[in-house]
C-alpha cells in the first residue's frame, strides 16, 4: 500500500491551496508544453497553488500565473 502511494502522482488541479509541489510531467501538445516551460512550469520545478478555481492561479519563481483548469489537470506533480 505504501509503495503504491509513493508512486501515485496527482495533477496540480488536485493539490490543496497553498501547497508546494514538484512538477513531474506535463501533458499536452508541443506548443503548449513549450509555452509552459517558458513560464517555469516544467518537470522538476516547484509550483505553489494560490487559488483553486477558474482561472487556476499558481505561483512559480515568485510570479503568479493564471491557468485554465484543464491545463492544471494536465500538469502532473509529485507529492512533497
Amino acid at each position: 500500500m505504501a509503495i503504491v502511494e509513493q508512486y501515485l502522482t496527482h495533477s496540480l488541479f488536485d493539490r490543496p491551496l497553498r501547497s508546494k509541489s514538484r512538477i513531474s510531467r506535463v501533458e499536452g501538445d508541443d506548443a503548449t508544453v513549450l509555452r509552459l516551460e517558458g513560464l517555469g512550469l516544467a518537470p522538476g520545478r516547484s509550483v505553489h497553488v494560490e487559488r483553486k478555481g477558474d482561472p487556476f492561479i499558481v505561483r512559480v519563481y515568485g510570479c503568479r500565473v493564471g491557468l485554465a483548469p484543464a491545463l492544471a489537470r494536465s500538469i502532473h506533480v509529485d507529492d512533497f
Binding site: G28, A31, T32, L34, R35, L36, E37, G38, L39, G40, L41, A42, P43, G44, R45, E50, R51, G53, D54, P55, I57, V60, Y61, G62, C63, R64, V65, G66, L67, A68, A70, L71
Partner: protein
C-alpha cells in the same frame, strides 16, 4: 548609413550605427524603456528583411545615431507562433551591412530573476554581444530584494545595468554601457550549463538560473501578496468579476464617446474649412472637384475617427499597465473558450469597437495561430465607430422623436454585432478551423499604478498606424468612388436648384447606373435603387452612406442639418407611390449595416496579418452573405408581421 571619406578612397565604407535589439519577457518595462530611449522618434514598421512589424526608433549615444527595435515580448526562443518565430529569427540573424553590429539589450526583472534567466540562458548562447538591463530595481528594493550586480555580471559574462524604465533612472549609464559594447563588441560567453549532465534543456537552464539567482540575489522572506490575492479573487470571480468588467467597459466607452466629441467636431470643421479654401483657390473643373470632394473629403472621413481610436488605446494601455487586463482575460476565457475563442481575444474585440484595423493588429497577443485566425475573421462584425453615423440616421428614421427607443435600437445593433461575431466564431470552430482552442496560461503581473506617459505613447503609436493603414486605402477608394459618382457628367435641367442638380447628376453617373442594376437583388430587402447607390458608395467607408443618401434624395451635399435629411428620407417615394423608408426597410438597412463588410482597409490588414488573400476574401464573402440574409429576414419578417 555608410560613411565614406574622400581622403581615403581605398578604405571600405564603415557604418557607424548599430542595431540595438530590445528583448525581454512581457511585463518587464521593455516598451517603457523603448519610449524613454526614442521619445517620439519612432514608428511602427517592418523589421528589415522580414514581414513582421516592430516599433523601430533611433537613439543618440555619444553623437552616433543607432537603431533601436522593440522586439515582441518572449518567454523563450523555442516556442512561438509565426510572429514570435519571425522575431526569434531576426534576433538570431547576423547584422545587415548597413549597420556596424547588432547588440542585444536584454531586460531582466529583478523581482523575478530566476524565470527571466531562462530566456537569458538562450540569448547568451547566441554569440552576440549582450547588455543586461536589470529592471524594476526600485520595486525590488522596496520588497527587500538585494541584488549583487557584480556577481550577477560575472555569472552572465556581460555588463549588468540597474534601471527603472518608468523614471529613467540608470538609463544614461545603460546607454554608456551600450556604447562601450558597440565600440568593443564581443559575444557573450555561453552559460556553463549544457556542459553538464544530459537532461532536458529546460531542466539544465532552470538549474543554472536557480544557481545564478541564489548567488546573486538575497530574496526577502516569502510572504503572500495578500493584496494581489484578494484583488485577483474579486476580479476573476464570476459575479464580482463580471460586474467590475462591465463597469470598466462602460467607463471606457463613455470616455471614448464623451471626450472624442469635441475633437471630432474640430477636425470636421477644420477639414470643411480646408475644403472650402481649396475650393475657392482652385479653378472650377474636375481637378477641383476631385480634390475637394474626393481627396479632402476622404482624408477628413478617416481623420475624424482618430480621437476615438487614440482615446481607446490610451485606456487599453492604462488597463494593461495596471495589471487589470490579464485578470479580465482570465474572466473572459472562461466564457469565450466554449465558443472557441481564447480569453485574450477580448482586447482585440474591444479595440474593434473603435476600429477593426487596430483590433486585427492587436490579435498578435493571441499565441495560437488558429485562435488568432478565427478572431480576425469575426472581428469586423463588431460595431466600429464608422457605423455610428449610419446607426444614428437609421434609428432616427425608425423612431422619430423617441430617444428611448433610439437608445434601445442602438444597443440592439451593438448586441447584434457581438452576437454575430460570437456565433460565427462558434461556427468556424465547428467547421473550418476545428482544432481546440489553446488553453489559457497567462502571467498575472503585479498590480501597479499605470503610467500616463506610456499610455500617451501607445495612443500616439496606434493613431499613426491607423492613419497610415486606413488613410491610404480609404483615400484611394474615396477618389475612385468620387469618380464613379461624378461621371459621366450630366447637364442638369435648366433652372433647377443645386440639390436637384446634384441628385440628377448622381442618378446618371456610373454609381447611379450600378444602383439601378442591382435593384432587383436588393428589392427583397426592401431597398430601392437609390439606397443601392448609397450601399455601393458606402463600400469605401460606411459613413459615406449618410452623405450619399443625402445627395441622392435631394437634400443636397451639405447635410449638416440632420433634420433636412430625415424629412427628405421620410418623404421619399418609390415609383409606385409608397414610401421608401418604411419601418421594415429602415430596420432591414440597419441590420445590413451592422453585418456588412464595407471597409477595404480591413481586408488589406487581414491579408497582411494572416498572410493570405484567401482569408480576407472569406471575410468579405461570408459577411456580405450574412448581411444580405440579415436584411432579407428583417424586411420580410417585419412586413409579414404587418410592420411594413
Amino acid at each position: 548609413m555608410a560613411v565614406t571619406s574622400e581622403a581615403m578612397p581605398r578604405a571600405a565604407a564603415q557604418p557607424t550605427s548599430s542595431r540595438i535589439l530590445l528583448v525581454s519577457n512581457p511585463n518587464t518595462g521593455k516598451t517603457t524603456l523603448f519610449n524613454q530611449l526614442t521619445g517620439l522618434r519612432h514608428k511602427t514598421s517592418n523589421f528589415p528583411g522580414t514581414t513582421f512589424e516592430v516599433r523601430a526608433g533611433r537613439v543618440r549615444i555619444e553623437g552616433v545615431e543607432h537603431d533601436v527595435y522593440d522586439m515582441p515580448g518572449l518567454y523563450s526562443l523555442e516556442s512561438g507562433n509565426e510572429e514570435e518565430r519571425a522575431a526569434i529569427e531576426a534576433i538570431n540573424s547576423p547584422s545587415d551591412t548597413t549597420h556596424r553590429s547588432d547588440i542585444v539589450l536584454l531586460l531582466l526583472d529583478a523581482t523575478n530573476l530566476t524565470r527571466h534567466l531562462y530566456l537569458a540562458s538562450q540569448i547568451l548562447e547566441l554569440g552576440k554581444p549582450v547588455v543586461i538591463g536589470l529592471t524594476m530595481i526600485d520595486i525590488a528594493k522596496k520588497r527587500g530584494y538585494r541584488v549583487d550586480i557584480d556577481v550577477l555580471a560575472e555569472h552572465l559574462g556581460c555588463p549588468v545595468c540597474p534601471i527603472v524604465p518608468r523614471t529613467g533612472n540608470g538609463v544614461p549609464e545603460l546607454l554608456e554601457t551600450c556604447a562601450r559594447t558597440i565600440d568593443h563588441p564581443r559575444p557573450a560567453p555561453r552559460p556553463k550549463l549544457l556542459k553538464q549532465t544530459d537532461g532536458p534543456a529546460h531542466a539544465l537552464r532552470y538549474s543554472w538560473a536557480e544557481t545564478v539567482n541564489e548567488s546573486s540575489v538575497i530574496e526577502p522572506e516569502e510572504t503572500d501578496d495578500r493584496f494581489a490575492q484578494r484583488l485577483d479573487a474579486v476580479l476573476t470571480h464570476s459575479v464580482s468579476g463580471l460586474l467590475v468588467f462591465g463597469l470598466v467597459m462602460f467607463g471606457v466607452f463613455y470616455l471614448i464617446f464623451s471626450l472624442a466629441a469635441l475633437p471630432m467636431d474640430l477636425i470636421d470643421s477644420f477639414m470643411g474649412s480646408v475644403g472650402g479654401f481649396v475650393g475657392r483657390v482652385l479653378p472650377e473643373g474636375p481637378v477641383r472637384d476631385m480634390t475637394v470632394d474626393g481627396i479632402i473629403a476622404g482624408v477628413g472621413g478617416v481623420l475624424v475617427f482618430l480621437p476615438q481610436i487614440c482615446i481607446l488605446f490610451f485606456c487599453i494601455s492604462i488597463l494593461e499597465d495596471s495589471g487589470y487586463l490579464a485578470r479580465a482575460a482570465c474572466l473572459m476565457d472562461r466564457m469565450l473558450r466554449h465558443i472557441g475563442l481564447p480569453g485574450k481575444a477580448f482586447v482585440p474585440m474591444l479595440s474593434a469597437h473603435a476600429c477593426a484595423i487596430p483590433g486585427i493588429m492587436a490579435t498578435r497577443v493571441i499565441e495560437d495561430r488558429r485562435d488568432r485566425l478565427v478572431t480576425i475573421l469575426v472581428l469586423p462584425l463588431l460595431t466600429c465607430s464608422a457605423r455610428l453615423p449610419v446607426y444614428a440616421m437609421l434609428t432616427a428614421l425608425l423612431f422619430p422623436s423617441d430617444p428611448l427607443k433610439v437608445a434601445l435600437a442602438f444597443t440592439a445593433a451593438y448586441g447584434l454585432g457581438i452576437a454575430a461575431a460570437l456565433g460565427m466564431a462558434f461556427l468556424f470552430r465547428r467547421t473550418m478551423v476545428r482544432t481546440p482552442t489553446a488553453p489559457l496560461m497567462i502571467e498575472l503581473p503585479s498590480y501597479k499604478m499605470p503610467s500616463l506617459k506610456t499610455a500617451f505613447f501607445a495612443s500616439y503609436d496606434r493613431g499613426l498606424v491607423f492613419v497610415r493603414k486606413a488613410g491610404t486605402v480609404i483615400l484611394a477608394i474615396s477618389v475612385i468612388l468620387w469618380w464613379l459618382m461624378s461621371f459621366p457628367s450630366y447637364e442638369p435641367d435648366a433652372g433647377v436648384s443645386e440639390s436637384v442638380a446634384s441628385q440628377q447628376a448622381l442618378e446618371h453617373s456610373y454609381a447611379g447606373r450600378l444602383g439601378h442594376g442591382i435593384e432587383p437583388v436588393l428589392s427583397p430587402l426592401g431597398y430601392d435603387w437609390r439606397i443601392g447607390v448609397g450601399i455601393i458608395s458606402s463600400f469605401a467607408a460606411r459613413e459615406v452612406l449618410v452623405s450619399a443618401l443625402s445627395v441622392i434624395y435631394g437634400a443636397g451635399e451639405e447635410a449638416d442639418d440632420g433634420s433636412i435629411l430625415l424629412d427628405r428620407l421620410h418623404a421619399a417615394k418609390r415609383s409606385d407611390g409608397t414610401p421608401v423608408f418604411t419601418f421594415a426597410t429602415s430596420a432591414s438597412l440597419l441590420v445590413f449595416f451592422v453585418l456588412a463588410m464595407q471597409c477595404l482597409p480591413t481586408q488589406a490588414v487581414t491579408r497582411r496579418e494572416t498572410g493570405l488573400w484567401r482569408w480576407a476574401a472569406l471575410q468579405w464573402g461570408y459577411m456580405t452573405v450574412l448581411a444580405y440574409l440579415g436584411g432579407l429576414i428583417t424586411y420580410q419578417g417585419l412586413s409579414a408581421l404587418g410592420m411594413g
